[in-house]
């Protein structure tokens, strides 16, 4: 058993940390205030290979392994959850779909620009009537000659506004439910595909959260993710990619929690009440100790799961645990540290205020925590011979 970081990982960690502190952190407040995406830093991150971290070099990736990928997301999450999530969804979910199930040609054509960060990716599944009940999507894909005609709309699509490559899920055989869903690769600018407005959200103001419209949007059959043989098998692709995505969310949350803790510790040392720093008060010490403890527990849950991925082992249950636990730890951490800041925690001058607004959605997106609990319970009960339904 070995928990040491080898030379390479330590190097990566330093590189991620420096980049996050120097380039990403200074922009965080601006993004939040101006409600815009960090295009300038995404470009810098792309140059460093951050946007293709999980992928092999032959597809333009930087091949740093899953543990390295989680470290990157942690460092980014510490300073700016918006930036971290843009990159996570781009590489860990959208591009990941193409990596997992795309044809060789699709990987060359679409994955490479994504890995290099030349284009941003987006994952379009959710609809007004299909959130947790993802199989109930109603966007249709109807065969017409060598093409498919897509009709419908998607909501709350992360990166929608800045992405050029979209993985879009549509019902090609509506009567078959989940087994009638196909994944299509759709590029921005395809006639019939319009990018709608961005939502106004509580936090994560740096992330475009967009509505997408498909009006008789014609997509070649060659753009079925995985080729014609993967017709009606899109749901399985989505589930596989979301597994990896959940691990990424957990890693981002680990970073957010750690960033909150560091802010809280610093504040507690500086702020004086009753004749000394509030760090001398047990109530504050308890907040710090509990937060630090949960973060340590989360950290090794994340790395254990990342290790399972790199070992090629099954990790669905663990990924859900990471997302569930990570989002709840992050929420508690930010909340506790906000309390530590007292009144200042409510003032926009202090990053903790933004973190509080940013972190709330982590218990909701990428599969609500209720869905995560369902997945975990289903896995445990299935091993004991009982099959349950959502």
């Amino acid at each position: 058993m070995d928990f040491a970081l080898d030379e390479e990982l330590r190097m990566f960690q330093k590189m991620f940390r420096d980049f996050a502190q120097n380039e990403i952190a200074p922009l965080a407040e601006t993004l939040d205030r101006e409600e815009r995406p960090p295009l300038e830093t995404l470009k810098l991150a792309a140059e460093q290979g951050f946007l293709g971290a999980p992928f092999p070099e032959e597809y333009g990736g930087s091949e740093i392994g899953t543990i390295g990928y989680c470290m990157m997301l942690e460092e980014l999450g510490k300073v700016c959850m918006s930036t971290a999530m843009i990159i996570e969804v781009h590489s860990g979910v959208a591009a990941m779909c193409i990596y997992l199930d795309g044809t060789e040609e699709q990987k060359q054509t679409y994955l490479e620009p994504l890995a290099l960060g030349e284009k941003i990716g987006s994952f379009a599944l959710t609809e007004p009537g299909a959130g947790s009940d993802a199989a109930a999507i109603q966007t249709t894909g109807v065969r017409d000659g060598d093409d498919y005609i897509l009709n419908g709309n998607k909501i709350w699509i992360i990166n929608g506004d800045i992405a050029e490559t979209f993985v879009v899920f549509a019902k090609t055989e509506p009567e078959k439910g989940a087994r009638g869903i196909t994944a299509f690769i759709v590029e921005k600018g395809t006639p019939g595909f319009t990018v709608g407005r961005n939502e106004k959200t509580t936090g994560l103001h740096g992330i475009p959260v967009t509505t997408l419209f498909f009006d008789d949007c014609r997509v070649p059959a060659a753009n079925i993710l995985g080729g014609e043989e993967k017709l009606n098998q899109g749901f399985a692709t989505a589930m596989k990619a979301l597994d990896y995505g959940r691990l990424g969310v957990g890693a981002v949350c680990l970073g957010v929690a750690q960033g909150a803790l560091e802010a809280g510790v610093q504040f507690a040392c500086e702020r004086e009440q009753f004749g000394g720093p509030i760090a001398l008060k047990q109530a504050i010490q308890n907040f710090i100790a509990d937060t630090a403890t949960e973060i340590e527990a989360l950290r090794y849950l994340v790395y254990h799961t990342a290790w399972l991925v790199d070992q090629g082992q099954k990790y669905t249950k663990e990924a859900s645990m990471v997302k569930l636990f990570g989002s709840e730890v992050a929420h508690r951490a930010v909340n506790c540290m906000l309390q530590t800041h007292g009144g200042y925690g409510y003032i926009k001058d202090y990053p903790i205020e933004r973190m509080y607004r940013d972190v709330r959605v982590s218990r909701i997106f990428e599969g609500t925590n209720e869905i995560q609990r369902f997945i975990i319970a289903a896995d445990i009960l299935r091993e004991k011979g009982l099959k349950i339904k959502p």
Partner: protein, 388 residues
């Protein structure tokens, strides 16, 4: 990074599990009711090496290090909290004090029989006026020729009745307080003037005795000092530091069993026409338990790695104890809830687990003390010193 257990530890775990299932599980309820772990069982455990897991083989121990010890505590606490408490006090703090700071002669004289289970050990720190505030102990050890004369009493000592020797902390110089005025001793039950007082009647871990020890002019030879005269507090704090990690492992084991029992029960118990496993409330409790357990597992074994590779581990060990005991509490609580009315009946093992669990947030350093250990380590690194 590598999360696999080395093969010898995988085999060790399997054998302990078999032993626990075969020898311990059938009598766990009886142990609780009769408030005693049969001596034959302790002897069988000793034969396997369970009474000296982390200690070197040259002292009669198993030579299995901190990892072996945590695995043993994990597997035993799954099945019987009382035996785990006995072994935890015996190895984790009682014998551990001698292992950490005892002279070679002291180790040969006491550690070897303790590791072999020929003697049972205990850790004598707590007094009526000194619980979390351990530095304010009053038991006095006065020098008299080649001996020390002990006067005072200790309370809430696990294995107080069962033990043959106790690692004890007493005041040798009242003017110096905890820094330089307190010394650790190995005191044999056989020494005249050492008697056993009240045996407490407890909520849980009833198979282990929690006892008052009384010292009236008890003569202890100077050779029985553990470490340096006056530096006993340091020895005892070091001992508690490492003792707490194995408690985290013990909590992990019991939490695992609470989950297993809950899953099993939810499959069988039918309400509203189907097993309750089909209800989201139940599923969600199971999912939360499983998640916390996984997080605790990695935290514990990573801290074990810190110990076994000679790295600092105080903060992490305190986290394991704090988090482990709180996870256990939540797990047994949810498990009782899942069992419904049956969770309250003594026919069901979960009832026993619920009572056994509560003490883990209190003994060997309350959760509040653990938080101080953690917070002071964090603040020390940014230059702020805090104290209880």
């Amino acid at each position: 990074m590598d999360f696999t257990f080395p093969k010898e530890y995988q085999l060790l775990r399997r054998i302990i599990r078999e032993f626990a299932q075969k020898e311990l599980a059938p009598i766990a309820r009886k142990i609780d009711e009769e408030e005693e772990v049969p001596r034959e069982l302790i002897d069988k455990a000793a034969k396997l090496g369970l009474l000296g897991v982390p200690f070197p083989q040259k002292y009669g121990g198993m030579g299995a290090g901190e990892m072996g010890y945590c695995i043993v505590m994990e597997e035993l606490n799954k099945v019987c909290g009382s035996l785990a408490a006995i072994i935890g006090a015996h190895i984790g703090i009682g014998a551990m004090a001698i292992h950490l700071d005892g002279s070679e002669e002291l180790k040969e004289k006491y550690l070897t029989p303790l590791a072999r289970g020929e003697m049972i050990g205990a850790f004598g720190l707590t007094e009526p006026g000194a619980g979390s505030d351990a530095a304010s102990i009053r038991t006095r050890a006065e020098r008299d020729g080649d001996d020390y004369i002990l006067n005072g009493s200790k309370i809430y000592i696990t294995n107080g009745k069962l033990c043959d020797v106790v690692s004890l902390l007493a005041v040798t110089d009242p003017s110096l307080g905890a820094r330089g005025g307190v010394t650790a001793f190995v005191v044999e039950k056989a020494f005249p003037g050492f008697s056993v007082g009240t045996v407490e009647d407890k909520m849980g871990i009833r198979g282990s005795d929690t006892t008052e020890l009384i010292f009236e002019n008890c003569r202890v030879p100077k050779e029985n000092v553990i470490g340096e005269v006056g530096l006993g507090f340091v020895t005892f704090m070091k001992t508690l530091d490492i003792g707490r990690l194995s408690l985290g492992a013990a909590c992990l084991g019991a939490s695992d069993l609470a989950l297993e029992k809950s899953v099993q029960f939810s499959k069988i118990r039918q309400q509203f026409g189907a097993p309750i496993a089909h209800k989201q409330s139940i599923q969600f409790m199971i999912a939360d338990m499983a998640t916390e357990i996984e997080a605790l597992r990695s935290l514990v074994y990573r801290t074990v790695w810190l110990v076994d590779t000679g790295q600092p581990f105080s903060r992490e060990a305190a986290m394991c104890k704090l988090y482990g005991s709180e996870v256990l509490h939540r797990c047994v609580d949810r498990a009782v809830q899942i069992h419904g009315g049956m969770g309250y009946m003594r026919d069901y093992f979960i009832e026993l687990m619920y009572r056994d669990a509560r003490i883990t947030e209190i003994f060997e350093g309350t959760s509040e003390i653990q938080r101080i250990v953690i917070a002071s380590d964090i603040f020390r690194q940014v230059g702020v010193r805090i104290s209880p």
